[in-house]
């Protein structure tokens, strides 16, 4: 099985995609199959520790994520890919601690397993842009999303902080823009592409999320967007799941679909929306899907083999 | 006599310093003017620029019985002669790498950059280098001046 793929990458799903963001995981796995990349899930992976662990003790956080990295290293990988930017930050944080000569010893002591720090953590988006390449994505498109206007929303962590992310322009990123253009969508300049969605304040301070997410949704609607493409489970949750809540808060109806970038790519690849988890989205995507069915024309070229 | 007793335990090492006239020699002066106390082992030779410093000077000193050689010049890109120290640092780096091959500790040769204003840095450099040389002890060298085995022979 492995032999039929052009390459293999270690895959760290993270907790979110097992719960609220299942569709991110499903669509990721689907599109990479088309892109001929084998995802090897890190066996016995554990939670990245998320926000609580690094607030409590950065070293603990580094060790928790370090374990996942060490396992991947042991499997012989030099790169681990994760869909969740939160997990990404935790993984990168672990490598940063490893690279700090003052802390390395402590980290390795806690870890108590061989870890050489040569592995690199990347997001799904970064992997798509830098390893797979926009051209390769474009080559696999069967049904371009022609006539559909989509704004990209990057959130805070995908490209920032720049020192740790080392990917794209921190303030004016274009990677999602380029992917969307490659799959045929119309992509207007979206000024709020890196504005904060309010993150975890969705639980404790609904007003803040209402305001922050609200303006993002409003800007998208004002730009005539049919959908907002995201790449972060938490952002997606705020923009999608809380949309009704925010409608009440802002007194304005949005009804805008907020799919993951991978779901959109999958759509253009001609994968069954169900397999991509479109049905799991909270804001009903039917309007978008109908529009897609109506507008998209299959490319005349023969599709690459879909397994 | 008492003075002598005081220095006895702490035998001086033979340390040569090659300092560029424009930055480091001035830096050493600044340290002196500021009365920054330093170990007394170092003997300074003034050269116009670290670019003048032939690595062979250090090499000859180290095989002739010097316990340490310290070279200091202007910070890179601050060279009075614009590029002398940029050539020099390559040569020094090569020498540093070469010495252990012959059995001479790399640390016996050290190069650094100290500007004319960095008196305190100079104090630190001298103190640290002298400490390191004391730690290494006498340079066993190459049976320096005695003639070769079977001296009669040649």
């Amino acid at each position: 099985m492995k032999d039929n793929f052009s390459r293999t990458v270690a895959y760290y799903p993270g907790c979110s995609v097992e719960g609220t963001a299942k569709e991110f995981d499903e669509s990721t796995r689907e599109i990479f199959r088309v892109l001929n990349v084998a995802l090897r899930e890190i066996p016995d992976w554990n939670c990245c520790g998320s926000t609580p662990s690094h607030i409590y003790d950065p070293l603990l956080s580094a060790a928790i994520s370090g374990r996942n990295l060490a396992i991947a290293e042991r499997m012989g990988f030099y790169e681990v890919m994760t869909p969740c930017p939160g997990c990404l930050k935790a993984l990168k944080g672990s490598i940063e601690v490893f690279n700090n000569p003052l802390k390395r010893k402590d980290l390795l002591n806690i870890l108590d397993m061989p870890f050489y720090g040569r592995i690199k953590a990347v997001s799904v988006v970064q992997f798509l842009v830098e390893d797979v390449g926009i051209e390769e994505i474009e080559r696999c498109v069967l049904f371009p999303l022609e006539g559909i206007t989509i704004v990209p929303y990057y959130g805070c962590l995908l490209t920032r902080p720049p020192k740790s992310a080392q990917f794209d322009d921190p303030e004016q990123p274009t990677s999602l823009d380029r992917i969307l253009e490659a799959i045929g969508a119309t992509v207007p300049h979206f000024p709020f592409k890196t504005e904060c969605c309010g993150a975890t304040y969705g639980v404790v301070r609904k007003d803040i999320v209402g305001r922050l997410t609200g303006r993002i949704l409003e800007m998208a609607l004002d730009l005539g967007a049919d959908a907002i493409a995201v790449a972060c489970p938490l952002c997606q949750q705020n923009l999608d799941l809380r949309q009704e809540q925010i409608e009440r808060y802002r007194g304005r109806s949005f009804k805008i679909s907020v799919p993951y970038i991978t779901q959109l790519i999958g759509l253009s690849f001609g994968i069954d929306p169900k397999k991509l988890g479109w049905h799991r989205l909270a804001a009903d995507p039917q309007k978008l899907l109908t529009r897609f069915d109506k507008l998209s024309k299959k490319r005349p070229t023969e599709p690459p083999t879909i397994r | 006599m008492e003075e002598r007793e005081k220095t006895k335990n702490n035998t001086e090492m033979r340390i040569l310093g090659f300092l560029c006239n424009w930055c480091s020699y001035g830096g050493a002066d600044t340290a002196g003017v500021s009365r920054l106390k330093q170990p007394t082992d170092l003997r300074i030779i003034r050269i116009p620029c670290t670019g003048r410093m032939d690595p062979l000077f250090a090499f000859k000193a180290l095989i002739s019985g010097a316990d340490g050689v310290l070279v200091s010049g202007c910070h890179p890109k601050d060279c009075h002669y614009s590029v002398g120290n940029l050539y020099a640092r390559r040569r020094f780096e090569v020498l540093k790498d070469f010495l252990p091959f012959l059995g001479i500790e790399s640390d016996r040769f050290h190069y650094t950059w100290v500007s004319a204003s960095e008196g305190q840095r100079w104090q630190e450099v001298v103190t640290e280098f002298s400490r390191r040389i004391h730690e290494l002890g006498r340079n066993p060298g190459f049976d320096m001046n005695t003639n070769l085995v079977n001296s009669e022979a040649r």
Partner: protein, 652 residues
């Protein structure tokens, strides 16, 4: 050699921690030492006389003074021995104060160290040779590189003093950045009204040769005798014939040429005179837009030119100017704000830079002095200024303050109110830096009289709302996030080193800092001198500064040149490299490494080549000496023998 050693007590500065008597007694045992003594203050007048007396009495041929740093008193003692008839290079100093008595209280160790330092000095002195300086005539012409206000000032001051001046300008007209400005702070007087007359002066002075649209190709020579090759770029117009009538410009069919002078806010023609007050007021063809050059046919300008000055076949010309001194006044460039993606410069047409706004405000600007938005030509009501765009921000590699932005923002805000009385101006700033005469008062006027709203904080994002822009930032005084809706946003872009500054510095053999600004010889005491004799700095090329400071520095540089030219010849140091010809193996390695181009080939008969030092160019760094494998090239006064003698004295 008969050597005398003088051990200075320096009052108690040396004597308190060094047994100077013992030093004098010990060094008496050294070879060639025939006289030693100690003295309370050797550098004093009687101390110097004592040296002179000893030289005569003991017939000394060389003198060692063990005292303070040679950086302090070497010149003093050299003069003293010279007065007694010794060559000044038959003298050495042992630094037993800064390097001995002041850095340790261990009297025994200090004394031993002092003895060894004197031994080393004696060992070196035994290899010293009398050296004699040579004198070279000074070519009393000066070159000024850069025709901005600093360069113009320097050129005029030199010309007024009667010097021949060569002024080289990269663009087609002199005037620099100041010519682009509308008004100047804090007086609000018209920039071109005060600069214009000076520019005209340059054109009219007979002793100023102006090379506009020219760049420095290479520099050789040394103080008093530089030869500078200047590339005069092809203008395709014979400037001797061109009268600046402007007919060609009127008739030129290529009308979509971004106007550089107007910072791209308007278009000009492929053949153009950059602005009405240009000096020289001559036309130049922009090859990349000219239809004749791009399509191969047109030739309208040639047809209409009444002076028949068009020359399509013109090529670059390189002229060599021989000068005795060079003033570098190459100015600066402005930071490219696209590094700040969140500000959308380039993305939103109504987000502009300070210099662009300057052109908008100018009566000779793209909109005739009426403030309009570049996007739709509408008059703005709310204008936001953002300070420190590319200044004081390490994340974009510009941690320094540009020094002028706070002031020009205040000026532009005031002018905005003058132009559009019912407008509102907002300034986002970090700190207000207005330290010069009448500066802070000026900023206060902007705030108090003109009602400009100053908001202390950084801007995080600019985004459009309808046809307006929302500037979202932080008010750090109130601790709240603020949003200001604006019609026009002006980014106060900072100053950065002129493009090409590093390359020019390398041609001139002067140093530059990490940002590309040229290095002065001393930040306080020699602010316009460089490390290379005969090359001086003026204006922003040395570091950010405003117009008054640039002008002052221009005059200062001119004063330095005049001081240099007050003499007919200059003395060159004999501490230079010298070639032992027969040992030279002609490997050329010295020529390759010499930072000054001071070594060249000399052809002997039979096609034999040897290296030859141009002593007046040589600066005495000794890099060649260290590089020469057979040590055929020796740096006088720091020869291998001298340094080896010092090493051996200590190690043997």
């Amino acid at each position: 050699m008969r050597i005398g050693v003088f051990v200075c007590q320096c009052g108690t500065n040396i004597a308190s921690t060094v047994d100077t008597e013992r030093v004098a007694q010990e060094v008496k045992k050294l070879p060639d030492v025939v006289y030693t003594t100690t003295y309370m203050y050797t550098c004093s007048e009687p101390g110097q006389q004592e040296i002179q007396r000893a030289i005569e009495e003991h017939n000394l041929q060389g003198v060692v003074v063990a005292a303070c740093s040679p950086r302090m008193h070497e010149p003093t003692f050299r003069r003293a021995v010279e007065k007694a008839g010794l060559n000044r290079y038959m003298f050495e100093m042992a630094n037993i104060r800064e390097h001995v008595s002041w850095v340790s209280n261990d009297r025994e160790a200090n004394t031993k160290k002092a003895i060894e330092l004197v031994r080393m000095a004696v060992a070196k002195l035994r290899f010293n040779q009398p050296l004699f300086p040579s004198r070279v005539a000074i070519n009393k012409r000066v070159m000024v590189i850069g025709g901005g206000v600093a360069g113009i000032q320097a050129a005029l001051d030199c010309a007024d003093a009667g010097l021949d001046v060569v002024l080289v300008e990269r663009r087609t007209s002199i005037g620099g950045k100041m010519a682009q400005l509308d008004k100047t702070f804090p007086t609000i007087d018209c920039s071109s009204c005060i600069l214009g007359p000076k520019m005209v002066d340059v054109a009219q002075k007979e002793n100023i040769t102006l090379h506009a649209y020219s760049e420095i190709e290479s520099v050789s020579g040394y103080v008093g005798n530089f030869a500078v090759r200047v590339r005069k770029k092809a203008t395709y117009v014979d400037w001797k014939a061109c009268t600046g009538c402007g007919v060609c410009m009127e008739k030129c069919p290529s009308r979509k040429v971004p106007d550089e002078f107007n910072e791209g806010l308007s278009f000009t023609r492929a053949i153009n005179i950059p602005f009405p007050q240009a000096i020289p007021k001559k036309a130049t063809i922009n090859r990349s837009y000219c239809i004749y050059f791009t399509k191969g046919k047109c030739g309208i300008c040639a047809k209409v030119c009444p002076a028949k000055a068009i020359r399509y076949d013109m090529t670059d010309e390189v002229v060599t100017e021989e000068v005795g001194a060079i003033i570098v006044a190459t100015g600066y460039d402005l930071f490219d704000p696209s590094a700040y993606g969140e500000y959308g410069a380039g993305q939103y047409r109504d987000v502009i830079t300070g210099i662009q706004y300057e052109r908008i405000l100018s009566a000779s600007g793209p909109f005739g002095g009426h403030i309009k938005r570049p996007s739709d030509g509408r008059e703005p009501k709310d204008v936001v200024f953002i300070a420190c765009v590319g200044s004081r921000d390490a994340s974009v590699g510009r941690p320094y303050c540009s020094g002028v932005c706070c002031m020009y923002i205040a000026k532009q805000a005031i002018l905005t109110k003058d132009h559009i009385p019912n407008s509102r101006s907002y300034v986002f700033y970090m700190d207000i830096r207005s330290p010069a005469k009448n500066y802070d008062e000026f900023v206060r006027r902007a705030q108090e009289e003109y009602g400009v709203q100053y908001i202390r904080g950084r801007v995080g994002k600019i985004y459009p709302r309808g046809d307006r822009l929302v500037v979202q930032g932080m008010d750090t005084l109130l601790g709240i996030q603020v949003e200001v809706e604006a019609d026009l946003v002006v980014l106060a872009t900072g100053i950065e080193a002129s493009r090409g500054a590093r390359e020019l510095a390398e041609k001139l053999h002067i140093s530059y800092d990490q940002y590309g600004f040229f290095m002065e010889n001393h930040p306080k005491l020699r602010p316009v001198e460089t490390n290379t004799a005969g090359i001086y700095l003026a204006g922003v090329c040395q570091g950010p500064k405003d117009i008054p400071a640039s002008v002052a520095q221009g005059s200062a540089a001119a004063a330095k040149v005049l001081a240099l030219f007050a003499r007919d010849t200059i003395e060159t140091s004999p501490q230079v490299a010298s070639v032992t010809e027969r040992a030279c193996i002609a490997c050329g390695k010295c020529i390759e490494v010499c930072p000054y181009g001071a070594i060249r080939w000399k052809e002997l008969k039979g096609g034999v080549r040897k290296a030859e030092v141009i002593t007046t160019v040589c600066q005495g760094c000794g890099l060649c000496n260290a590089t020469c494998p057979p040590k055929a090239i020796q740096l006088q006064h720091a020869t291998d023998n001298q340094i080896l003698a010092e090493i051996e004295e200590l190690c043997a």
